[in-house]
C-alpha cells in the first residue's frame, strides 16, 4: 500500500469527487436540521467537510471546506459567510490529518473516542484562531449570528475588539467542532467496510 502524502492528488478519485459534492449539501442540510428542526445551540455545519477529510484526505477536506462556504454563501446566502472559507479549509485539512491517524476506526475502542474529542477540540481552537482576524477585519468582530451576544459580553470584559472576537470564537468553535467530530465518529461506526474503502483514506477508518 503506497504511502499517500497529505498533498497527493490521488485523493481526488471519482468517489471523492462525488462525496465532496454530497458533503457540501450535507453541511447545509445538517445545519438546517440542527438549527431549525431540533433547535440545538450548535451548528454542526462542517460535518460534511470533516467527513471528506477523514475519508479522502487533508487536501480533499480543505477544498471541500472552501467550496462549501463559497457555494453556500452564493446560493442560499448570506454571502457574508464566504470569507470564512479559509477557516473551513483548515477544518477540512485537520480532519484529514487526524483521520489519517486512524482515530475514527472502531478498532481503537474507548481510547479512540478520547482522541476524537481531543482532535475535535484542537480543530475548534484552530478554527477560532483563524476566524478571529477574518471576523475582525471584514466584519468588525460581529457576524450577525447568535454568537454576537457573546461578542457583546466579551466586549464588556476586555478592552479590545480583537480579543473579544477571539474569545467569542474560542467558546463556540471548539464546542461545535468537538461535537461534530463525535457525531461523525458515531455515524462512521455504522458505515460498512466496503463503502469506506472506496475512498483514498477510508481504510484508516475501518
Amino acid at each position: 500500500m503506497e504511502r499517500r502524502g497529505w498533498f497527493s492528488m490521488e485523493q481526488f478519485n471519482t468517489p471523492t469527487l462525488v462525496l465532496m459534492a454530497l458533503a457540501i449539501a450535507i453541511n447545509i442540510a445538517v445545519g438546517n436540521t440542527v438549527q431549525n428542526v431540533i433547535k440545538l445551540p450548535i451548528y454542526l455545519d462542517s460535518i460534511g467537510t470533516v467527513l471528506v477529510g477523514v475519508l479522502a484526505g487533508p487536501l480533499a477536506g480543505a477544498l471541500t471546506g472552501v467550496l462549501a462556504n463559497v457555494i453556500w454563501g452564493f446560493t442560499l446566502g448570506p454571502t457574508s459567510i464566504a470569507p470564512f472559507a479559509i477557516t473551513a479549509a483548515f477544518i477540512g485539512f485537520l480532519a484529514g490529518v487526524i483521520g489519517n491517524r486512524g482515530i475514527f476506526s472502531p478498532k481503537r475502542g474507548g481510547m479512540g473516542v478520547v482522541w476524537v474529542i481531543v482532535g475535535g477540540f484542537l480543530t475548534g481552537v484552530v478554527a477560532a484562531i483563524v476566524s478571529a482576524p477574518i471576523a475582525y477585519f471584514v466584519f468588525g468582530g460581529t457576524t450577525g449570528g447568535g454568537t454576537d451576544v457573546l461578542v457583546t459580553i466579551f466586549r464588556g470584559i476586555t478592552d479590545n475588539v480583537f480579543t473579544a472576537t477571539l474569545l467569542q470564537g474560542g467558546v463556540s468553535d471548539p464546542t461545535d467542532k468537538t461535537i461534530t467530530f463525535l457525531v461523525c465518529w458515531a455515524i462512521l461506526l455504522a458505515v460498512p467496510v466496503t463503502v469506506k474503502t472506496i475512498f483514498p483514506q477510508g481504510e484508516k477508518s475501518v
Binding site: A21, I187, L189, A190, V191, P192, V193, T194, V195
Partner: protein, 589 residues
C-alpha cells in the same frame, strides 16, 4: 457477419472473488451475446447477477477491485484476460485507463444514474458525449435520435431530477445509447419502478435489441424476463442454465436456486405447454380448458421460511378503528391529492391500498399517524382525531414503516436498530426485549442480530425497518410499498408478517404495486385513482379479471393467474399458479 470479432460480448469461464471473501461471487460463468441479442440474467439475491453485470460492462476489474480469472471481451476489446492456468490474481485497477467505453450500465436506483450537474435532460444526455470528446457538431443529431427512440422528446427541456423514476431510467438508457455503445448492461433497472414503468422499460429493451444493440439485463421482473430471447439462471455464482425464459424458468429447472418460477410459466408447465407459450395467457387458458390432467393435487404454495411463532401481543392495545370522513388534502403547491375520501377500517382488518403513482395512496395513509393534516374532513383512530397530535405520540398506536429503509436505519447492529422503536416509546425493558426477540424471529434475522444493517442487502434492510416498528407492538401497522425492490423470499416474508399480525387481531394496511401480494395476504383491497376510491372490497371482487378495465385506468392489472382464470370464465382471484390449479381441480366435475 459471423465470428468472434462480431460478438458484442464474450465471457469465458469468468471467476470473480471480492477481496476478503472466502467464496467466489462468480465461478466459471460463460456467456456470449451477438449484436441485437436480448439476454436476461435471473437468480436470487446473492447469486451473482450484479457482479456479472459489472464484469460485462468492463467495470470489473478496471474500477471495482476483485480477484479475477477467465476472459471478458467487449465488442472486440479485451477487458479481462486471465485464463485459468495463470492462476487467480488481482489486476491493477489503473490498467486500461483509456479503454473500456464499449458498454454502458444502468443501476436500480434511477436518481443515481444522473450526472447531477445538468439542468435539462438534453444536456444530461450530452454528458457522456462531452466526456468522450465527441465533436460538438455531432451531438445534437445523436441526442435527437435517442430522444425520439425512447419516446422522451417531451422531456428534453425538463430538469433531470423533476421527472419520475421511470422517466429517469429512460434518460439513463438514452444517455448510454447516445454514446453509440454496442452493449447495454442493466442491473435490476425496474426494481424501483411501478408496473407501468416496468413494462415501458421492458418494451424499450426489445426495441433497442431490434436496432442492433446487445442487451444484457439482470432482473426479477417477469415482464423483462419474458421478453428476453434467452435467460441465464445463476445460483451461488454458478450457471444453472442458459435457455429461453420459458424453459429456464420452469419450476423443475429452478429447484434449489431459491428462485420462484413466474406464475405464468408455472401454469404453462402444469398445462403441459412448450416453452414458447410459457407467457401466453390465451394459450395457457386454452390448454387448461382442454387438459383433463390439470393438477388437482396442487397445494397452495407454502410460504418460504414462514415465521413459526404466532404474534404474542405484549402491549395492551385497545382496538383501534379507523374512520375517515370526507377527507380532502390539498398540498401547498395547490395539487389536490385527495378529493373526498370516506373509509372505515374496523379493528383487525387487513387492507391493501393499490393504484398508480399519484393516485393519493401515500397521502391518504400519512393522515393516519398525523404526518399530514386534512385540508377538510376528519380522520379518527380509535375514536380520537389524530390531526394536530404530534406524530411521535400517534406512533404508539399506529406503526408506520416508510418505503426507503435507508431513510431510517442508523444503528450499528440489527438488534440495536430494532430497539429504536421501543426505546422511543419508553417501553419497559422486559417488554422491549421480548418484542425485539419476536420481531427478529418474524423478519427471519435472528442469526444476523449482531450484523451491521448496511452490510446486508436492501431486502434485509427493508425487513429490519419493518421489524423496528413491529417491535413497538402497534395496534395498526401501516406499510408503505413494502414489496418494491424486494426479492421474492422477501415479499413472502412481508406477507407472512402481515398474516401473523392479522391473526393476532391487529390492523394491517399496506400500499403495494404487487397484485399477487395483495390478493394473497389481504382480506380487503381499496383501489384508488386520482385522489378517489374507485373500488373497495375483497380481492375476489376488486382484482378479478372482470375488473381489468377499471384497474387499467389506474395503471394496474389483475394478478396473472386471475387473468388466466378470467379467460377460463371463472370468477376466481387466485394469487398464484397453485391457487388457480387448486381452484380448477375443485371446480372440475
Amino acid at each position: 457477419m459471423t465470428g468472434p470479432a462480431a460478438r458484442a460480448l464474450e465471457i469465458e469461464q469468468l471467476v470473480v472473488r471480492y477481496y476478503g471473501r472466502s467464496d467466489d461471487a462468480l465461478h466459471d460463468v460463460s456467456l456470449a451475446l451477438e449484436p441485437g441479442a436480448f439476454v436476461s440474467v435471473a437468480g436470487a439475491n446473492g447469486a451473482g447477477k450484479s457482479t456479472l453485470a459489472l464484469a460485462a460492462a468492463g467495470l470489473i476489474p478496471r474500477i471495482v477491485r476483485a480477484e479475477t480469472a477467465g476472459r471478458v471481451v467487449i465488442d472486440g476489446e479485451v477487458a479481462l484476460d486471465r485464463r485459468s492456468g495463470e492462476g487467480v490474481g488481482s489486476s491493477p485497477a489503473s490498467a486500461g485507463r483509456r479503454q473500456g467505453y464499449r458498454a454502458g450500465i444502468v443501476f436500480p436506483n434511477p436518481a443515481n444514474q444522473l450526472s447531477g450537474t445538468k439542468t435539462s435532460v438534453r444536456e444530461e444526455i450530452a454528458f457522456g458525449l462531452e466526456n468522450l470528446g465527441v465533436p460538438r457538431a455531432e451531438m445534437d443529431a445523436r441526442i435527437d435520435r435517442v430522444l425520439r427512440d425512447l419516446h422522451i422528446e417531451h422531456l428534453a427541456d425538463r430538469p433531470p431530477y423533476a421527472i419520475s423514476g421511470g422517466e429517469q431510467q429512460r434518460v439513463a438508457i438514452a444517455s448510454i445509447i447516445a454514446m453509440d455503445l454496442p452493449l447495454l448492461v442493466l442491473d435490476e433497472p425496474t426494481a424501483q419502478l411501478d408496473p407501468l414503468a416496468t413494462l415501458s422499460v421492458a418494451d424499450h429493451l426489445v426495441q433497442l435489441a431490434g436496432e442492433g444493440v446487445a442487451v444484457l439485463a439482470a432482473e426479477h421482473a417477469s415482464a423483462v424476463l419474458a421478453r428476453s430471447r434467452n435467460t441465464l439462471v445463476l445460483s451461488g455464482g454458478r450457471t444453472v442454465s442458459l435457455a429461453p425464459p420459458g424453459t429456464a424458468l420452469q419450476p423443475a429447472a429452478l429447484a434449489g436456486t431459491g428462485l420462484e418460477s413466474p406464475t405464468l410459466v408455472a401454469l404453462a408447465a402444469a398445462a403441459g405447454l412448450g416453452p414458447e407459450a410459457a407467457f401466453d395467457e390465451a394459450a395457457i387458458a386454452a390448454a387448461l380448458r382442454q387438459s383433463p390432467s390439470a393438477n388437482a393435487d396442487a397445494k397452495p404454495r407454502p410460504v418460504a421460511d414462514a415465521p413459526v411463532r404466532a404474534w404474542q401481543p405484549v402491549r395492551a392495545q385497545p382496538p383501534a378503528a379507523i374512520e375517515v370522513r370526507g377527507l380532502v388534502h390539498r398540498y401547498p403547491t395547490g395539487v389536490e391529492a385527495l378529493r373526498g375520501i370516506d373509509l372505515d377500517i374496523p379493528p383487525g382488518q387487513s387492507v391493501a391500498i393499490v393504484g398508480q403513482n399519484g393516485s393519493g395512496k401515500t397521502t391518504l395513509v400519512k393522515h393516519l399517524n398525523g404526518l399530514l393534516s386534512p385540508t377538510a374532513g376528519d380522520v379518527r383512530v380509535g375514536g380520537a382525531s389524530v390531526a394536530g397530535v404530534p406524530v411521535h405520540r400517534v406512533a404508539s398506536t399506529v406503526g408506520f414503516v416508510f418505503q426507503n429503509p435507508d431513510d431510517q436505519l442508523f444503528s450499528r447492529s440489527v438488534e440495536a436498530e430494532l430497539h429504536f422503536g421501543p426505546r422511543n416509546l419508553r417501553l419497559p425493558k422486559a417488554d422491549a426485549d421480548r418484542l425485539v426477540e419476536a420481531a427478529l424471529d418474524a423478519i427471519g434475522l435472528t442469526a444476523e442480530r449482531a450484523a451491521n444493517p448496511y452490510d446486508l442487502n436492501v431486502s434485509a434492510r427493508k425487513l429490519i425497518a419493518i421489524g423496528s416498528v413491529l417491535a413497538t407492538d402497534p395496534a395498526v401497522l401501516v406499510l408503505d410499498e413494502p414489496t418494491t425492490g424486494q426479492d421474492s423470499p422477501g415479499i413472502d416474508r412481508v406477507g407472512a408478517i402481515a398474516d401473523m399480525l392479522h391473526a393476532a387481531g391487529r390492523t394491517v394496511i399496506a400500499i403495494s404495486h404487487d397484485m399477487e401480494f395483495a390478493a394473497r395476504h389481504f382480506e380487503r383491497v381499496v383501489v384508488m385513482r386520482l385522489g378517489e376510491i374507485v373500488a373497495d372490497g375483497p380481492p375476489s371482487a376488486t382484482l378479478s379479471g372482470s375488473r381489468a378495465e377499471l384497474l387499467a385506468s389506474t395503471g394496474l392489472t389483475p394478478p396473472p393467474a386471475a387473468r388466466v382464470a378470467a379467460l377460463l370464465g371463472l370468477d376466481l382471484v387466485p394469487a398464484d399458479a397453485a391457487q388457480l390449479l387448486h381452484g380448477l381441480g375443485t371446480t372440475r366435475p
